[in-house]
Every structure is written in structure tokens, then in C-alpha cells.
């Protein structure tokens, strides 16, 4: 699936929820289910420092496709990470770089993109794209 197809799939899933409670409960469950980052990658180097919750991200590339694993000490943040990983993992670095993240607004999580939300989400997207840049350079 392309990034856009995955995003549309997520938008459809979220459209089924009637209110914020269902939306957040789903994210919390996603957070609980998130395959954790390998402990050896939970290093200071891999940490994205948000003001309040810690986020770790690790990336690797296989067959010209980037895969991400991540973790956070806050469960809602983990839920958001799970969504982002679903969108960006197993994709070509060029496609990751070109992708936009408007779908976050469309699934009613816009508030997490505001710079006042100290959950590191904005920095996390930046970090995913940084990895994509690095791998793209390797491919060139």
C-alpha cells in the first residue's frame, strides 16, 4: 500500500468513532499493542526529547524500504506513534519525504500537532523524515 492508501484506511477507521472517548480509547489500545523498540535501541541518541513524554525511535532499511520501531513512556503518545509507524513503515525513503501528515487533522488529533502539546509529536515526524533523508542519500 502507498502512504496515502494507509492514511485513507486510518481516516476510514477513525470515521467510525462517535466521540473523543472512542477515539482516545482506540489510540490507548494501539499504544498498548505497539511492538516495542528493541531495548538496545532505547538509548539517549535515539530519544526525541519532548517536554513531558519521552519518545524513542529507531529505523533500518531493507530492500530500499525504511522500517521504524519506537516507544514512549506515555501511552497516548505511543498510540500516536503506532499510527505514524503504520503510515511510514515499509515505505521508500523518497515517499516518506514527500508525504504530508494532514490525515492527523482529519482523524481529530489536530491538537497533538500544536507546538504547545509537549508530547514530541511534531519532533517525531521531523525525526522520521530525517531518517528518510539519510536513507535517501544512501540510495543516491
Amino acid at each position: 500500500m502507498t502512504i496515502e492508501e494507509v492514511q485513507n484506511e486510518i481516516i476510514d477507521e477513525f470515521a467510525m468513532f462517535e466521540d473523543w472517548e472512542e477515539r482516545y480509547q482506540y489510540m490507548i489500545d494501539l499504544g498498548k499493542d505497539l511492538p516495542l523498540i528493541d531495548e538496545k535501541y532505547k538509548t539517549e541518541d535515539n530519544i526525541i526529547k519532548g517536554c513531558q513524554s519521552k519518545v524513542w525511535v529507531h529505523a533500518n532499511m531493507e530492500d530500499d524500504k525504511v522500517n521504524f520501531t519506537a516507544d514512549s513512556d506515555a501511552i497516548i503518545t505511543k498510540g500516536i506513534i503506532a499510527i505514524l509507524i503504520r503510515v511510514f513503515s515499509n515505505q521508500h525513503p523518497k515517499d516518506i519525504l514527500e508525504a504530508n501528515t494532514d490525515f492527523i487533522d482529519k482523524i481529530g488529533l489536530k491538537e497533538h500537532l500544536s507546538p504547545t502539546r509537549a508530547n514530541g509529536l511534531v519532533s517525531m515526524i521531523k525525526q522520521l523524515k530525517m531518517y528518510a533523508i539519510a536513507y535517501q542519500t544512501q540510495l543516491n
Binding site: 473523543w20 482516545y24 490507548i28 517536554c51 513531558q52 513512556d73 501511552i75 497516548i76 503518545t77 509537549a118
Partner: protein, 404 residues
């Protein structure tokens, strides 16, 4: 006893909804809300007499100057300073602290010591670290116990003839502990050190008497006392303010200027370079009028009731731990529930219209002490109610259920 329903009508913001729910504002320790009486003063200033002060001969400038200086007198009276020029307008507590730190750096030498408390806000630690790097002075820390109280015997042991300045907050922003500043000031003076007290968290809840305290410097921000952001004050004893050099150069702070030499203006203008926050200063005075009309004794009595009620209700929740259980504390409750991250609880509470603070409250050393990433902090003001606490408890239980 105050009439909370009548008081709530003064605060237009309390009528709004957040995420479709009536706002419950429990982030008062970060900033307080503004009553209509203060908003009116701000509107009146910009509608009727906005002008630059102290320089103009025209009527508007004189009116603005009068109002600004009258507000200074109100602040003087409120804190019982001996003279109005001992009140310096600043941009707020952090600015006031930096002003004193900067002034002191020219007075200290290598080997001198500064004492701060373990309960400090970052704004109280960083300027002194910078200061010590610059001067070669040493920073010492008064430790705290598990309840969040300063260990005074350790403080006594830290004091010596090299101690030049003791710096402590009156009330801790993270835990709400009321520090025994009378004792701290007396002991510091006996050792020959000056004392700077951060009143950012105390001024909303009590009325400090700087002469009775015999404190050398006392600082606070207007926005925690129902006033606007961006304005605050530094009280300093006249003798100390005369000793400190000016902080910033600019207009207003000079007496005579030539390219060879500038002589500085007297107090308070020496520390008030440039066009100040005129409207903010006037509104600061109006905020004190508002609080004094309610009465600080009434405020304290009512807020203590909220604190006792909120503490008792929170303690009924399984797995909830309150941080900061000092005997003397103000209406701030810092807590965690089990291993749930404070950020998660804060996010869910916000969805239900409840504003609390989550995180380390700019007091990381305190969080390190308890080995936690942060807390959820609910802080009450005199316009909050027990009904709001009830709604908060219901919402909190729901958040816990969702997150467990």
C-alpha cells in the same frame, strides 16, 4: 466568608466551555484568571489615556504617569514597603530575579557562597548557576525531606561567613510547601547574608509584609494575582537597591548623559530603563485592589477548605499518591496515579474541559528527588468550588479507567 458564586461572576472566562464541557480551571499556580474589574482598567487605559509616561508635558502623559505611579503606591502599601521607590516594576518574577542576580554579580568575589533551596523553580536555579560561573561563587542547596519540607538543620549548617545571599521561594510551585522564611531570613541575617524571596506562588494566597519579614528582596508577578502577564515587581530595601548597579541601559534610567559619562537616575528609575509596561503596571494595582477587597484572610480560609476537601477526595482514589505533604502548604495538589504517565491523564482531563498542569513544573530537581518524570498538579484559587473538585474527581476516575 467569601461568596464564591458572586465572585465567579467577576471572571468572564469561567463561563466558557472547553471541548464542549464547562471549563474547570485548576492551573492557577501557572497563571490566575482575570476579573472584569481588571479587564476594564486595561480597556480604559487604551481607550482613554494611553501615552508614554514621565516625559510628556501633555495631559494624556500626565494622566498615564499619575495612574502608573498611583499603582506603584498601591503595591507599596500592599507589601508594606517603607517607600514607594523601593518598588521596582519589572516584567515579572524571572526578570526581577535576574535583576538582583546581575546586580549581585558585581558585588561578589571568588569564594563567596549563595544558598538556594531544593524546592526552587528553574527560574530560580539557572540565573544563579550563570551567576556562579561568572563570579566564581559557589552554589549551595538546602535539601528537602520526603514531605517536601526544607531541612532547616542542614540550612543552619550551610550558613557561614562566606554566605552572601540566600535565595528561597516563599511557596513551592511544584508542591505548595510554605517555607519558613521568617526563620530563614533571621538566620541569614545573623550570618551577614542578604535574602531574596520569590513570592510568585505566595502572593495569590497571602499578604506578605516586607518590613515585618525584614526581607532584603521580595519578588512576584502580577499574572498570578489576577493581573496581566508581562509585569511584576521587585521590592528591595533602599540600601540594597542603591548598592546594586543598573541592570539595563536606556531611556528613563539616566540623570545626565554625555559621551564622556552618564549619571544614573535615582530609585526606582535606575532599574526601569525604557518605556515600561504602563498599562500592565496600572492593571497590577487594580488586581491588588480587587484581591484586597475580597480580603486575604477570607481567601486563605476558603482556599484551605478547598485544599482539605480536594486532598481528602483524591486520597480516596486507589493508587493515587500525593507529592508534597508539608504541614504548611497552600492550595496546590501534586499527584500521580500508579504508573500512569501524568501527560496521559492531563490529555484526557483536557478532553473533559479540565485544565491542570502536567510535567515537571520547571522543578526537575524535585522530580528527580521523588524519581518520577513529573506529576499532575491541580491548583485552586478563591474562585474555584467544591463542585468543580467533585467534577474533577469524576473525570479523573474516568481517565484512570481509560488508561489502565
Amino acid at each position: 466568608m467569601l461568596d464564591v458564586q458572586k465572585i465567579r461572576k467577576d471572571f468572564p472566562i469561567l463561563n466558557r466551555t472547553v471541548n464542549g464541557k464547562p471549563l474547570i480551571y485548576f492551573d492557577n499556580a501557572a497563571t490566575s484568571q482575570t476579573p472584569q474589574q481588571v479587564i476594564d482598567v486595561i480597556v480604559d487605559y487604551y481607550s482613554n489615556y494611553n501615552a508614554n509616561i514621565h516625559r510628556g508635558v501633555h495631559s494624556l502623559s500626565q494622566e498615564a504617569t499619575d495612574a502608573y505611579e498611583q499603582a506603584r503606591n498601591k503595591i507599596q502599601k500592599h507589601f508594606n514597603a517603607k517607600q514607594s521607590h523601593e518598588i521596582i516594576y519589572t516584567a515579572g518574577t524571572t526578570h526581577s530575579i535576574n535583576l538582583v542576580a546581575n546586580g549581585f554579580s558585581s558585588l561578589l568575589k571568588k569564594g563567596d557562597e549563595i544558598i538556594v533551596s531544593a524546592l526552587e523553580h528553574h527560574s530560580n536555579i539557572v540565573p544563579w548557576q550563570m551567576f556562579c560561573e561568572r563570579t566564581g561563587a559557589t552554589l549551595k542547596v538546602i535539601p528537602m525531606n520526603e514531605n517536601g519540607e526544607l531541612i532547616l538543620s542542614d540550612y543552619d549548617a550551610l550558613l557561614n561567613e562566606n554566605t552572601k545571599l540566600v535565595f528561597v521561594n516563599h511557596i513551592s510551585n511544584a508542591l505548595g510547601t510554605i517555607n519558613p522564611i521568617e526563620y530563614i531570613i533571621e538566620k541569614a541575617h545573623a550570618a551577614g547574608a542578604a535574602v531574596l524571596v520569590d513570592g510568585a506562588q505566595s502572593c495569590p494566597h497571602l499578604k506578605p509584609d516586607v518590613q515585618a519579614l525584614d526581607v532584603d528582596f521580595y519578588v512576584c508577578s502580577a499574572h498570578k494575582i489576577c493581573g496581566p502577564t508581562g509585569v511584576g515587581m521587585l521590592y528591595g530595601k533602599e540600601e540594597w537597591l542603591n548598592k546594586l548597579p543598573p541592570y539595563q541601559g536606556g531611556g528613563e534610567m539616566i540623570a545626565e548623559v554625555s559621551f564622556e559619562k552618564t549619571t544614573y537616575a535615582g530609585l526606582p528609575h535606575k532599574f526601569e530603563a525604557g518605556t515600561p509596561n504602563i498599562c500592565g503596571g496600572i492593571a497590577f494595582g487594580a488586581a491588588l485592589d480587587y484581591m484586597n477587597a475580597i480580603g486575604f484572610e477570607n481567601i486563605a480560609e476558603y482556599e484551605n477548605e478547598l485544599l482539605a476537601y480536594g486532598t481528602a477526595e483524591l486520597q480516596k482514589i486507589e493508587g493515587l499518591k500525593i507529592y508534597g505533604t508539608a504541614k504548611e502548604k497552600t492550595s496546590v495538589i501534586s499527584f500521580n496515579v500508579g504508573t500512569i504517565h501524568p501527560y496521559d491523564i492531563g490529555t484526557i482531563l483536557d478532553k473533559m474541559g479540565i485544565a491542570v498542569r502536567t510535567g515537571h513544573h520547571c522543578a526537575q530537581p524535585i522530580m528527580d528527588f521523588y524519581k518520577i518524570p513529573g506529576t499532575i498538579r491541580a491548583s485552586f484559587m478563591f474562585y474555584n468550588t467544591k463542585e468543580e473538585i467533585d467534577a474533577f474527581i469524576v473525570a479523573l476516575k474516568k481517565a484512570i479507567m481509560m488508561l489502565s
